[in-house]
């Protein structure tokens, strides 16, 4: 495998391999929170922060602790614990240091532990064999891509709220169709770089 420049990986994670629209990760909060643009920004920032930090931490834990000790098939459990611990820690630190940030970001942090995109990003980076900087770049890019998608989706849904959607399709149904069109648009990016 060619050593990829971390910036290329970051760019690819935002556009060509958008974690939400091509890998379908983090759909649950995507559908339930994307009603308002403001809430989407909050959740988006929280995801960027947690994803960048947890991919880096998980890479370090995997490479320096799990592999040397031969415990690498316990990676799912360890990654989940690292993510949960990091989220809890961040929540405590933000609560103590910045009440304003806590009001805006705090309520989204607990939601993040069960966001499959966070665990997914960590699993992908190991499966694809990234190095440390590549992992950090990938985590950051994937977070930005996710945040971008949810904010765009919230904008569209606010407009759609006033239109006449068939009752059985209202809510998640129409959101999925919009997501489908967004995914189509993102397929257009895929000619630029191919990173696996």
């Amino acid at each position: 495998m060619v050593e990829l420049n971390p910036f290329v990986i970051m760019f690819a994670a935002v556009f060509t391999n958008n974690i939400l629209l091509t890998n379908y990760l983090g759909m649950c909060p995507f559908l339930s929170v994307s009603r308002e643009v403001k809430a989407s920004w909050g959740l988006g920032f929280a995801v960027i922060l947690v994803m960048t930090a947890t991919t880096t931490l998980n890479w370090l834990v995997y490479t320096y602790i799990l592999v040397p000790t031969g415990l690498d098939h316990f990676w799912y459990i360890i990654f989940i614990i690292v993510i949960a611990a990091f989220v809890q820690l961040t929540e405590i630190i933000i609560e103590k240091t910045s009440p304003v940030l806590y009001v805006n970001l705090g309520i989204f942090l607990p939601l993040i532990t069960v966001n499959c995109a966070i665990l997914g990003a960590s699993l992908f980076m190991i499966i694809r064999g990234y190095g440390l900087w590549q992992s950090t770049a990938f985590g950051f890019g994937a977070g930005v891509g996710w945040a971008m998608a949810i904010v765009a989706m919230a904008g569209i849904r606010q407009k759609i709220a006033r239109s006449n959607v068939p009752p059985a399709l209202a809510g998640p149904g129409i959101a999925l169709i919009i997501a489908g069109f967004m995914a189509l648009a993102f397929v257009g990016f895929s000619g630029m770089i191919q990173v696996q």
Partner: protein, 212 residues
């Protein structure tokens, strides 16, 4: 009497609160693995196993688990069963294990499993929890297959591709709907499935339960 209660739990979990089209939970993996029927079936079996076993375990431990840390305990129980599924797949079905990739691990964060553990198993006895897990898993599997079958037929023109029983359904010369195998096709098919199922089952409209 006991039988009708079992049936009621089964029906509620299987259809009335169907994980996918009612609660719209756990759709990450729904979308990712449904481009081939064989991947879908393997994913379904893995999910049913994890769902039933974790429901039973959570239910067994429900009086011993301190309430404050019960989420963490549930995640660890689920993760333990997912590791079992992952190792079994790697050993016996290496090709499919590779195709499913990270999505086997992502069963852990599949909101259905957490949802059932939290909403049902943590407050009910072992046997009803087992039935509930089984029914939710089956309800999930049925919808997943309903999405996977058209995607594979339109996208590849085959049924059961990648198994010894593969059938070429559409002639080779048919134009394949490449979009069906790609991401947008999955979103459209799921929206369509939700639309049909909700329209058919009645009581349409918003019913919000999903958070994680």
């Amino acid at each position: 009497m006991a039988k009708s209660r079992t049936q009621k739990i089964f029906w509620t979990a299987f259809w009335e609160d169907n994980p996918i089209f009612r609660q719209v939970l756990g759709i990450c993996s729904t979308l990712a693995v449904t481009n081939l029927i064989v991947n879908t079936v393997v994913m379904d079996l893995g999910l049913i196993f994890v769902l039933v076993m974790s429901n039973v375990t959570v239910s067994l431990l429900r009086n011993l688990t301190p309430r404050r840390i019960r989420m963490m305990v549930q995640v660890l129980i689920i993760a333990a069963y997912v590791i079992i599924v992952d190792l079994v797949l790697k050993a016996y079905l290496p090709d499919i294990s590779k195709a499913l990739g990270a999505y086997v691990g992502l069963i852990i964060t599949n909101c259905i499993i957490m949802g059932r553990a939290e909403a049902f198993a943590s407050a009910n006895k072992v046997y009803p929890s087992l039935i509930d897990g089984l029914a939710s898993g089956l309800g999930y599997s049925v919808l997943l297959l309903a999405i996977a079958v058209p995607r594979e037929i339109l996208g590849f023109g085959t049924i059961l591709r990648g198994t010894p029983w593969a059938v070429q359904l559409l002639p080779e010369s048919t134009t394949k709907w490449v979009i069906m195998v790609m991401a947008p096709g999955a979103f459209f098919m799921l929206a369509l499935a939700i639309w049909i199922a909700r329209g058919w089952a009645g009581g349409a409209g918003e019913k919000d339960k999903g958070t994680g």
